[in-house]
Amino acid sequence: MFIFFTRILLVFLIPVTIFSQENIVSTDSVTQKQKYGLRIGLDVNKLVNSSISNNYDGFELNADYRISNKLYIASEIGLINNTEDEEYLNFTTKGTYIKSGIDYNMYTNWLDMQNMIFAGFRIGYSDFDQIINNYTIYDTNNQIWGQSFINTPINNKDLSSLWVELIIGVKAEIFNNLFLGFNLEVKKMINSEIKNNIQNMYVPGFNKTFEGSSFGVGFGYKLSYLIPIVKK
């Protein structure tokens, strides 16, 4: 866990050092027209994971819309079908999610570019089912009677979760109006409905939940296209 957070810190130190020099250049440039518009895209990471893993299918559409010089309304919707095989159980979570919030662009662009180093927040909501496909009763004294493997699924349907998240990331224009972005998310569960006293071990959009903690993490790899609507 410590290494994980160290990595997160490193990740955010890198872009700060990269862009710090270029900010100086932008201060003496002529004020240019800025593009405003709707940027829509999808999460490349979820597509890659879906194609390489038999246990994961995920798809996310995202959009942001510039409302002022620094502020963007942002939203993501997605659907996920995720199966995880643990030591004593195998479970599938499937459902949809929506996240909405605001991004604040901390990067001063040169000319009319719309690159971003941003921080923001989201409110997330997911509707999902959690199915325990099979499980083995955890019994360390099973030398006598043997392990008890149960193949009758436990279906916990129509569950829902509500959470907030802080998001930080970058978006860079790689071709005209086409952006590639990366972001990290730190999430805090507000409410997660459970059934049969079984923890929701994975929540679409929130990702893995941790025992005894309401926090979660995530990241996204986003490819998006800007449809320019206004130039200011």
């Binding site: 030398q143 006598i144 009677w145 790689i174 025992e211």
Partner: protein, 175 residues
């Protein structure tokens, strides 16, 4: 600037791909509880009374499986695992137990337990354990008619019919 972005993205991506954490069930996690039996004096039911050279076998269909920790010990308290695949466990309790050339010797007593198993979710890593409710104990298999003859156990008392921990005795056996 674009070059920097590419490099940055590639580096971070490779970092996160290698960042999956394994969940292992910690050995300290409470497991499925065993049944605790205390042996009491039949003439003075408040007094503990050790059984001399006690040996306990689980009866799994027609096989007898020795519980390794109860192999001819003098004790007034034992813990035995209950069966999880069906809600019935059968045991043979031997007093003055010994095993000579594969032949079991001693005074035999058949013990039959009935209960309902309740699955309790523990965690992602450990899954479920069983607790047991509605525990009842018989001096022999009630499906086999006839009273037990010449057994060394004179009676039973279920103290706690719910087995959800190993903190105290669930059953007293008088002898």
């Amino acid at each position: 600037m674009k070059i920097h972005f590419y490099i940055y993205l590639i580096i971070t991506f490779s970092m996160f791909v290698a960042c999956e954490k394994d969940d292992l069930c910690a050995e300290t996690t409470p497991t499925t509880p065993q049944l605790i039996i205390s042996f009491k004096d039949a003439n003075n039911t408040n007094e503990s009374k050790a059984v001399e050279s006690l040996g306990v076998y689980a009866i799994d269909n027609n096989d007898l499986i020795l519980i390794e920790t109860i192999n001819g010990i003098n004790t007034d308290s034992i813990s035995i695992p209950l069966r999880n695949d069906i809600e019935v466990s059968n045991f043979k309790f031997y007093k003055n137990y010994s095993l000579i050339d594969g032949v079991i010797e001693g005074e035999e007593n058949h013990i039959y337990l009935e209960y309902n198993a309740v699955e309790v979710f523990i965690s992602r890593a450990c899954g479920f354990i069983n607790n047991y409710i509605d525990l009842s104990v018989f001096n022999y298999d009630p499906n086999v008619f006839g009273n037990p003859v010449g057994t060394w156990i004179s009676g039973y008392e279920v103290i706690i019919p719910i087995v959800e921990n190993e903190n105290q005795a669930h059953v007293y056996i008088f002898h």
